[in-house]
């Protein structure tokens, strides 16, 4: 692998395909987009296969001093690798989901998605702080167009709200970045991650970054753009928005806020906890009363992202790993749920829950997949949702039992609204004749849902595959945070002998690597 600039190639493939899509007619554009995203998926698999678990922290590093003031510098650690894998995995599915649903301006649509893919990979792979910012912000343009051109009835309001909200959040972060670069004298992210900023200044810098990431995440109360954007976006747009774009906020916290400003993070952890607790309970309750399926899933996303934030700010490896797994799991599960909505929306052109009912009778396979993803969203053991939520809550329990308690109610409420949704859509009488006449999944839809279902189960049964690449990075982050770690109220004490064996086993396990 040495010398082959695989990350740059992964950025370039969708970009070139995007340009090609603009020039060809609809059918060719679809195929170009599909092939390009599949190539990128293949490259992603090569990337993962060649990623040396337990090797250097930053791998596949490329740099070229192309610009003044910042550099073209790419490189990934385990965290970025997993999120890149998520992006490249979801992209072909998004293209597939838009295969028939998008009829007008197909070339431009595919180009916007491919551009989006380039920027998403760029965000996760950028090792230069300004390059990161450029990629992070640039994503607004294609997403604005995707929502505005191919969205639903209220698309224009939603597109403005999405754009301006996230832009306002981000610009202050740019000023903070400039200050940091001026202070530290480098734009290199790994160097900045190890740089100790003055704790009083950290407060301001942390707030500036928080303004951006909290909006992107989104955290209560700045989450209101999300339901609008989700509901109005086309299915694939929602998938990419929920699946990957929201993860940029979490990635921002884990890559920037936490390692660069540990003291400030500890200082503001209570704020994050309060917002997250409110988010978990309030948005879950809001989700419970929704009549629009997409809106319901959008609110559930906010609740899940709150679990991510408490995991991130629990300052221990369980919490951080849990947060990462929730992000990956939510990326898959919410994406899959939006696809499930898309499947029936394509048939009946409504997202109104009451217009469906008893779908398990005429669409058994659909009901099966939908049930799996519903359970994964709830966090049933054996699915990916369980692993992440359990770890996050276990992590936060060590810090604050109260936060753990309240956030766990969110899981129960999550079960309530998801099961309620499922009951109304899939079970009960077939009260609407047109819904009862809908055919089951076709081959294309099988190809969309089955891979996600497989990965959800894989992550649920053997999460080690996904946690192994990240372990060293999480440990490094934990070590970095150790000095600012707030004292927890749980005071966990493990029985001595067992703890010793566990450590010994762990050491042996670690040695085997």
């Amino acid at each position: 692998m040495a010398g082959f600039p695989i990350l740059s190639v992964m950025l370039l493939v969708p970009l070139l395909a995007a340009v090609a899509c603009l020039m060809v007619e609809a059918r060719a554009a679809r195929w170009t987009a599909l092939i390009a995203t599949l190539i990128n998926l293949g490259l992603g698999i090569v990337l993962w296969a060649n990623y040396d678990v337990g090797g250097a922290q930053w791998q596949f590093v490329e740099r070229a001093a192309l610009f003044s003031g910042f550099e073209w510098k790419l490189g990934i650690d385990g965290i970025a690798l997993m999120l890149i894998m998520l992006s490249v995995f979801l992209m072909p599915i998004c293209i597939g989901a838009s295969w028939e649903a998008i009829e007008k301006r197909v070339g431009e649509y595919m180009a916007a998605f491919l551009l989006m893919e380039t920027l998403m990979i760029g965000v996760f792979a950028a090792q230069d702080i300004f390059l990161f910012y450029i990629m992070f912000e640039a994503g607004l343009i294609p997403m604005y167009l995707i929502i505005g051109i191919w969205g639903g009835a209220e698309r224009i309001y939603a597109s403005y709200k999405f754009f301006l909200y996230t832009l306002l959040g981000s610009v202050l972060m740019l000023i903070a970045m400039m200050w940091m670069v001026n202070e530290a004298g480098t734009t290199d992210v790994p160097t900045l991650m190890a740089y100790d900023f003055d704790p009083t200044v950290q407060t301001w810098l942390w707030l500036a970054f928080f303004a951006s990431f909290a909006v992107k995440m989104p955290m209560w109360p700045v989450h209101t753009w999300l339901p609008d954007a989700h509901v109005q976006a086309p299915t694939a747009g929602s998938v990419i928005l929920a699946g990957v774009l929201l993860k940029m906020g979490g990635y921002g916290f884990i890559r920037f806020s936490l390692p660069m400003f540990p003291e400030a993070s500890a200082q503001f952890a209570p704020l994050v906890f309060v917002l997250s607790m409110i988010a978990v309970v309030v948005t879950s309750l809001i989700a419970l009363v929704q009549h629009d399926m997409k809106k319901l899933i959008a609110y559930s996303s906010v609740a899940h992202m709150a679990i991510v934030t408490i995991g991130l700010f629990s300052f221990n490896p369980q919490g951080l790993e849990g947060a990462m797994i929730v992000m990956l799991s939510h990326g898959l599960v919410s994406g899959a749920l939006f696809l499930c909505v898309g499947v029936i929306y394509d048939r009946l052109h409504t997202r109104e829950i009451d217009r469906y009912g008893g779908l398990s009778i005429n669409m058994p396979y659909y009901a099966l997949f939908f049930l799996l993803f519903t359970m994964a969203s709830i966090g049933l053991p054996g699915t990916s949702g369980f692993v992440g939520e359990f770890l996050s809550l276990a992590g936060i329990y060590q810090v604050s039992t109260w936060v753990a308690l309240i956030c766990t109610t969110g899981i129960i409420l999550g079960a309530a609204y998801m099961l309620y949704l499922y009951r109304r859509v899939a079970f009960g009488d077939q009260k609407n004749a047109d819904a009862a006449a809908m055919p089951d999944l076709d081959r294309r839809e099988w190809f969309l849902l089955a891979p996600i279902a497989a990965v959800v189960l894989w992550m649920g049964v053997y999460p080690e595959s996904f946690m192994a690449p990240m372990r060293a990075d999480i440990a490094a982050l934990d070590a970095r945070l150790a000095r600012a770690k707030p004292e927890g109220d749980a005071h966990l004490t493990a029985p001595k002998p067992e703890a010793a064996t566990a450590t010994a086993e762990h050491a042996a396990h670690g040695g085997a690597h």
Binding site: F67, S68, F163, V171, L174, I175, W179, N182
Partner: protein, 487 residues
Amino acid sequence: MDFVQSFRLTAPEVLFSLSGLVLLLAAAWSRSDAGARVITWLAVAVMAVAAALVAPALFSGAAGPGTLAFSGLFAATAFAAFAKLLIIAAAAASLVVAPAFFQRIGAYRPEYPVLMLFAVLGMCLMVSSTNLLTLYIGLELNSLAAYVLAAFLRNDDRSAEAGLKYFVLGSLASGILLFGTSLTYGFAGTIDYAGIAAALTGKISTGAVFGLVFVFAGLAFKISAVPFHMWTPDVYEGAPTPVTTFFASAPKVAALALTVIVAMTAFGNQVTAWQPIVIFAALASIVVGALGAIGQTNLKRLLAYSSINNVGFLLIGLAVATPKGVAALLTYLAIYVAMTIGGFVALLMFKDANGEPVEDLRDIAGISRHRKVLAACFAMIMFSLAGIPPLFGFWGKFVVFQAAVDAGMVALAAIGIAASVIGAFYYLKVVKVMYFDEPVMKVTGKSDWMHQALLAICALAISPAGYLLTKCLDSLSTSAAAALIAP
């Protein structure tokens, strides 16, 4: 200082004067369209030659006493060269787009290129000025040509109105500026920038402060910074579009460069006196430019407010008052010229089936369906003006704000950048109209190849590919700023 050396340093200006006079004579004898075209291309050729004469000073980073001509009345520094190249490029672009626009209504006259040459001559004097007299001569030479250009469509009421408004308000501003210069002269005892800087050090008298304020007020009018911006939308709307292209680009560059020269050299020791003025003008321009644009339906007025908004960002570079700030301002100016020319050329290409210009925002609804490339270019320019990465307009804002942060003016940068979000709203609105709305199929006219070529060049420059220019832009603007602000 011998005359040969002086003439060598002023070669571009001499060339402009002589060729302007010769072409004026030629224009008197050739009234035909073909003649006008020939004169236009001759003027473009003159500009190209002048640019070639100017360029070496920029690349060699010319500075110091060796750049002074005619007993120190004129300085051909790298800073002046940077501004001159931008001015010449902008003027040449405004020149080549003109024939196609005017000839359709039979209004093209050879005076257009000639006036353009004189305006460029005036602007070159402005950016090379080393004392208040050169400044005034340059400024007036440019303004007189500009007043006539604004009223170039003699039979069009709007154009005549624009010319008259520009003339009246411009004269007022010149008066204010003259008053300021006379006060400055009175208190400093010299009209030479270096002499003024030497005379005005430490705490200065109230009278000198008045002089400074009036000079800045006069200059603020020329760069259309708030609160002296009111003429801009009217003049931009009324003037023929190629002339508006010119107004929004070249004179802005010249006036901003001139403001920088005056602020950093003549009043270089009085930074604390003018800094609050510039900060206020910068933030007010950003906010007023953004808010004013929201309600506009005429695209030319909208771009006028956009230029006010951009001047605000440019002034932040000046407000920083460091060489880095000046370099950032120059970088931004270069990008601004590309965006502005691109924007107005796209506007020139919005024509209905009869070739009538389409200026109303509602009339370009849905043009992304039938004029894909044109719409994409204009959308790129809009996003770029809004400063959204990865378009190159972001880089201009980036360097300006970075200069502010480096100089410790974090609050200014934070307020400025937060206000830029307001501006993003109306740029988004234009994109929304072009991309989201149902087509009205009004823009169906054919485009001139010249316009297409120019738009393509501008679009390429502001595309992400533009970032490859950052190294070159950075080194040139840094050396230009260093030439102005001698350590």
